[in-house]
């Protein structure tokens, strides 16, 4: 079901014929889509609730073509939305109705894997998992592993600063990318970062990573590869109380352990997953924790023993340690299949992405339970517990009038509570079009103005992915929500759930 309320297309008027002529001049016919039936597959990304048809889809094969497309659009004042695999969950790659989609899908070559230097140089359309597969013969891999890694591309990962289940120990995209080549809206090429540990000048790499295609178009990515740990083992613990599970997470960290992965699922999530995956989850537990340890066999044995001790003290009702690689993968299979499993028990679901301080978890989960009654919708919770990143999956039925609107309001309330609890509206999925209104809650006017100035420093005419990631002040005024400063809410005397 299309929902156009957030689409931001009104202001720009484009000479469609001039655009088509211009693009035909710089791209061969097989690199340009113009017909409606060809454009249709590009109307949305992984967030299907928001759709828009672009005027054209460009599928360049060389950097020179990317430069030409950007110059053409710049000259004609046409918006450009860069796109990788389109697996994003925040509508970041949703087209602009008066714009062009610039797909990097054909930039799919791994240019170099350097075993000695432990780096890979890849084109932005290369899939995340393909990098690790190419590095595997050398005992190396690319650490960030978003759950969509079989499909999502490195270019998209750079745009969103993607994480994954192992980022507590191994970092996000920003910690694992060394260098990018970027084309500006004017068609100018920049090399940002280097294969050395740092580069001269401002750390523009940090600014570009996670900028959601607003600052430039990436045409090449150099990533760090790390040695594959000899062994990984996972501990699965059951808890009769979600608050206790949350405390157990804090206790593991307090014990000086940074596990390779630390994930939590609530009862609604395990109930959805278990019949589907048969991972062996404890169906009576209110929450289960998965804690992975990796390293040398000696190191893993030492860490698993310490983790087990902490979990016992924290009141786990049952603890199991994977005894084989097959069992480890089975324990994880449920977590990794959580989204599709929930997709089996509900016609539609809406995935949220707030981060909160871990210690506020129990509070957040009880608030979500209250929201389930308020909105009359169910919600399953999976949680990157180690880094406080919560993915509530709100279940709804798009064919029922009003269901999506309630799901959207439910999600907005979760995000705004995340900010009030001292967290963020998005940990790894990005703002895109989805959370554009909640940016007005997370940031005050001066910060939003600073973001607009940063955008203008890179993209003066504002043609790269306009209307995404950073809301206009006008939009915030219309949305009418206030930025919550350090938990000082309006009407502090009122209870808030």
């Amino acid at each position: 079901m299309a929902n156009m309320s957030k689409n931001n297309n009104a202001v720009i008027s484009v000479d469609r014929e001039a655009l088509e002529r211009g693009l035909r001049r710089v791209l061969p016919a097989h690199c340009l889509l113009l017909g409606e039936e060809d454009l249709r597959p590009y109307e949305c990304d992984g967030l299907t609730a928001y759709r828009e048809l672009p005027l054209a889809v460009c599928l360049p094969e060389t950097e020179a073509q990317v430069i030409d497309v950007l110059r053409t659009c710049h000259q004609l004042g046409v918006p450009v939305v860069a796109r990788g695999a389109g697996t994003g969950l925040s509508g970041g790659a949703m087209p602009h109705a008066q714009g062009v989609v610039l797909s990097l899908a054909r930039f799919n070559k791994i240019l170099r894997v350097d075993r000695a230097a432990r780096i890979a140089v890849v084109q932005p359309g290369v899939r995340n998992l393909a990098v690790s597969e190419a590095a595997a013969p050398f005992g190396l891999y690319y650490a960030p592993d978003p759950s969509s890694q079989i499909a999502c591309t490195l270019g998209g990962n750079v745009a969103e600063n993607s994480g994954g289940v192992h980022c507590l120990k191994y970092g996000l995209t920003v910690h694992n990318v060394l260098r990018i080549r970027v084309v500006s809206i004017e068609g100018e090429v920049f090399e940002i970062g280097s294969e050395a540990p740092d580069a001269a000048g401002y750390d523009l790499l940090a600014l570009m990573i996670g900028s959601e295609g607003m600052l430039g178009v990436v045409t090449e990515v150099t990533v760090k590869l790390v040695p594959k740990p000899e062994l990984a083992q996972v501990v699965m613990a059951s808890f009769a109380d979600v608050a206790k599970a949350g405390d157990a997470v804090a206790a593991i960290i307090a014990a000086g352990i940074i596990p390779a992965g630390l994930e939590m699922m609530d009862k609604a999530a395990t109930a959805a997953v278990e019949p589907f995956v048969k991972a062996g989850y404890d169906m009576n537990a209110e929450a289960i924790l998965l804690c992975e340890s990796d390293g040398t066999p000696e190191e893993v044995a030492e860490e698993i023993a310490r983790v087990t001790e902490v979990l016992k003290t924290a009141g786990a009702s049952d603890i199991r340690v994977s005894q084989s690689e097959a069992e480890r993968l089975r324990f994880w299979a449920g977590r990794k299949a959580a989204f599709p499993a929930v997709g089996r028990i509900t016609p539609d679901y809406y995935c949220m992405d707030g981060t909160i301080p871990r210690k506020r978890l129990a509070e957040m989960l009880s608030s979500i339970a209250a929201m389930e009654s308020k909105y009359g919708l169910r919600c399953a919770n999976v949680f990157h517990a180690g880094d406080g990143n919560l993915h509530p999956l709100i279940m709804y039925d798009a064919s029922k009038p009003g269901d999506w609107e309630r799901a959207e309001a439910f999600g907005a309330e979760i995000l705004e509570l995340s900010v009030a609890l001292g967290g963020s509206i998005t940990g790894e999925h990005g703002v895109g079009i989805e959370k554009i209104n909640q940016m007005c809650v997370q940031y005050a006017t001066p910060e939003l103005e600073a973001f607009h100035r940063v955008k203008a420093a890179f993209d003066e005419p504002g043609l790269l992915n306009p209307g995404k990631a950073v809301p206009s002040l006008h939009r915030c005024a219309e949305y009418g929500r206030m930025h919550v400063h350090h938990g000082d809410v309006k009407f502090p005397e009122l209870e808030r759930f």
Partner: protein
Amino acid sequence: MLKAHSLDDIVAAVRNANAAHAPLRIRGAGSKDFYGGLLAGEVLDVAAYRGIVAYEPTELYITAKCGTPLAEIEAALAEKGQMLAFEPPHFGGANGGSAGATVGGCVAAGLSGPRRQQAGAVRDFVLGVKLVDGTGQMLNFGGQVMKNVAGYDVSRVIAGSLGTLGVIAEVTLKVLPKPVAETTLVFECDAAEAIRRLNEWGGQPLPVSASFWHDGQLWLRLSGARAAVEAATGKLGGNPAVNPENHWNSIREQTHPAFAASPLWRLALPSTAPSPALDGLRAIEWGGALRWYAGDVDGDHAAIRVAANRLGGHAVLYRAPESLRCREGAFTPLPPALLALHRRLKKAFDPAGILNPGRLYAEF
């Protein structure tokens, strides 16, 4: 000199300077006055705006006001068995006489110590900043959570920006537990062999947390779980070091004789880069990726920069007489398009160009 005791003092000082178009030179402990370009403008001393604002060991973060000495932060962390994993230098402190580096200066300079090769650099640990921009506007970027992709990641860009984008008033850093076990091994080898070995070890799952080569000796620090350190020690051989803590501290604080050169060049290179055709190699760190060279005041400075660029890295004129740094620039010149982008970004935060002008590049 202007002394700021509060956030209001900082804001007022910047507003006045902005109105008068009068440059400010932001200063914490002054431990890195030697670093970067020209020191110009009236000193805005922020050392008195200090103190830990929040420390949550189980949330793995600490928030502190800019003037807080690193020593104070590290003492608080040590009580809970935690650390600043990027091992920033203090350049002073207990033995050096002065109070030692502040957290604001540490983030502004972006200098990391020996553990950088394993743990990451300053910017990898910056979670949030409270910044006073060049117009005196207070801005909050990032926050206190590990994962936050809402808005551009301005707080990480602030690391290493040398105060040119804003006065860092407060900063939140990710902290990590101290390793359970640590051992240092020493090997005898030349520089080329050290680079070869470091890269070979880097490709294996070994808990190498620091490396340092100087004058025919390669020092290697292993950190992690006890079992992992013991297994690696058995595998690697070498001789156990005497007094390793003092040794690594002298690398971190650059009191080791290897750093006693002026001019001293810092070359950041791909770790596998062969030795450039330069004389004066003093030390190798970070698994081969950081190399220190003694220069010559009358030497061919451009040749050093060219050599580093050719190898895919860059050269910083790290310690040198101010006159030389002003003439040659401390940092490798940027290509024109990138320089233009830097100027636009500078303007976005400091339109009048009053914050530490020339400290990073003479052009802004």
